[in-house]
Amino acid sequence: MAAKLLNSRLATLVFLAIIIGVIPYLAPSAFYLRVAAVVWVFALAALGLTVLMGYAGQVSLGHAGFLGIGGYAVAIGPAQFGLHPALCLLIGAVIAGVLAFLVGRPILKLKGYYLAIATLGFGVILSLVFHSESQWTGGPDGMQVARVTLFGWRLSGSANWYWVTGGALLIGAWLALNIGASPTGRALKALHDSEVAAAGSGIDVSAKKLAAFVIGAVYAAVAGGLLAAMNGLITPDAAGFMHSIELVAMVIIGGLGSVLGAVVGAAFLVVLPQALTFMHDYEQAVLGFLIMAFMIFLPAGIVPTVRKWLLERLS
């Protein structure tokens, strides 16, 4: 019974919903809600990587580029064309998806190190574009994002954003869980184990990998749009190499392929710098150390390790 519960999709969603629902009653101040909202946004972006890396086993070291596309869409659309931010969020997701579709096919033919460096290069090029096209993007200093008004309701303040991002994360988690259980998800997991075997059982390997890449890009773009609108600011650093690495680190530290893992990993890497402000100078060193330590000593990630431990205790 308990084991069944641990593996159930509904249980994961309910658990996540309870966490999101309870935090506002425990948070001592609006600052905590704000940090939590940032966690939900990054968890959403990390969920895209869970589909791509966890299910399909394809690494992307340039994923923050898609985050940047979503963010700049929400920034540029209202400022330059007078479009509604919600529409721009959709446009950003579409642009990211189309771009992923176009570059994904040649990139995803590559494997291992080659795939890593190709996605990395792609991400760096995107961040250079955001950096350099200053008439559109405001250059290295980034640009302001107009406040969002939805149906006459002005979206501002930590509490409002908390519920918007929390809701987005729940929807994203629900979709990711369902993708995992769908025929596409099973195909992705099959090609993760062996592409040759998957192709042999009639799976169109390159089409499925491409689908995972596009899904991952759309997740990142939506997260980027939410992040930019919430912060009221987007800078090229959001799309930079370091950010891509952090996203991958979230997925791996939390647990590759686990929806809850993406949330735990995001929480870990977002909250940690806040908790370490007293040793601010060492923030980067601590991040580097943690990535190394987790990869060496807990390669499966937090959530799968805890789940395995619980299952062993229960059985």
Binding site: V59, P106, I125, F289, I291, M295
Partner: protein
């Protein structure tokens, strides 16, 4: 013509540094199948270490030597503490470990050193030399000369010494090398140490031209990686050619197209090479075994 020559000079200078970084990548990749993203940070340690030791009153040559030794120690520690314990991990895990190491080194460097840009005095003056209407800095000659010297030294080491041959044997087949009595652990440590030394030396000679800071390693690593990949991963000659090629393309891109996108050139090249020549210019064919 003069402009063209000028771009060639500056391209070959940076290209020589990329080639050295790529050579470091190649050495470690051959010996251990690890792509070491911290390779660029060895360049930074060489440059920054020399700057700070020289500022502390140590003569420049001695300061450079100490910085290089420091980088070698960091390289050995990286191998011993981060790569060895993770033996058998997947490529992605190994990439993340070396990226973590790179972030860690940068994090420590900004505390031990500082966050400012630093330079070193040029080794033999700043008077430019006139060549066919273009000018070349004496320091550029230093960079190219040192790079050439290191290539030759590395070649002789790998081909003519027993230790070098043991390294090549380990690269070819680790198990077989162990069977004929090669101490594989020491060889792997050696590869990390030599790579670190090559990177640090590159850092020392290039700092008077490009300046250095705690985070310059990332770009060196990415460009050096691009160079190694363009040449065909694991091929030392390919690494050198790839490095010079990336340096030249970058210089021409900056000179004739747009200097804002100078840094993008290397990545566009990587993507094109990977799409059309997935094994690089000098890479062999690979067959997937099922």
């Amino acid at each position: 013509m003069a402009e063209f020559l000028q771009l060639v000079f500056s391209g070959l200078t940076v290209g020589a540094v990329y080639a050295l970084v790529a050579l470091g990548f190649t050495l470690i990749y051959n010996a251990s199948d690890v792509i070491n993203f911290a390779q660029g940070d060895f360049v930074m340690i060489g440059g920054m270490g020399t700057v700070f030791l020289a500022a502390a009153g140590i003569a420049l040559p001695l300061a450079a030597l100490m910085a290089i030794v420091g980088a070698v120690i960091v390289g050995l520690l990286l191998h011993r503490l981060a790569i060895e314990p993770a033996r058998g991990a997947s490529p992605v895990a190994l990439i993340m470990i070396t990226i973590g190491a790179s972030i860690f080194i940068k994090g420590i460097a900004q505390v031990v050193f500082d966050k400012q840009f630093h330079s070193l005095p040029a080794f033999s003056g700043d008077t430019p030399i006139q060549v066919g209407g273009a000018t070349i800095l004496p320091q550029s000659l230093w960079v190219m000369g040192v790079a050439l010297g290191l290539f030759v030294a590395l070649y002789l080491f790998l081909e003519k010494t027993l230790l070098g041959k043991a390294l090549l044997a380990t690269a070819a087949n680790r198990l077989a090398a162990r069977l004929v009595g090669v101490n594989v652990t020491i060889i792997l440590a050696l590869a990390f140490g030599v790579s670190a030394a090559i990177g640090a030396i590159a850092g020392v000679v290039v700092t008077p031209i490009t300046l250095t800071r705690y985070d310059v390693g990332t770009m060196f690593a990415l460009k050096g990686f691009a160079a190694a990949m363009v040449g065909g991963m694991g091929n030392p000659l390919g690494a050198v050619v790839g490095g010079l090629l990336i340096g030249l393309l970058e210089a021409f891109g900056a000179g004739y197209i747009s200097s804002t996108y100078k840094d993008a050139v290397a990545f566009v090249v990587i993507l094109l090479v990977l799409f059309f020549l997935p094994r690089g210019l000098f890479g062999g064919r690979s067959v997937e075994r099922v």
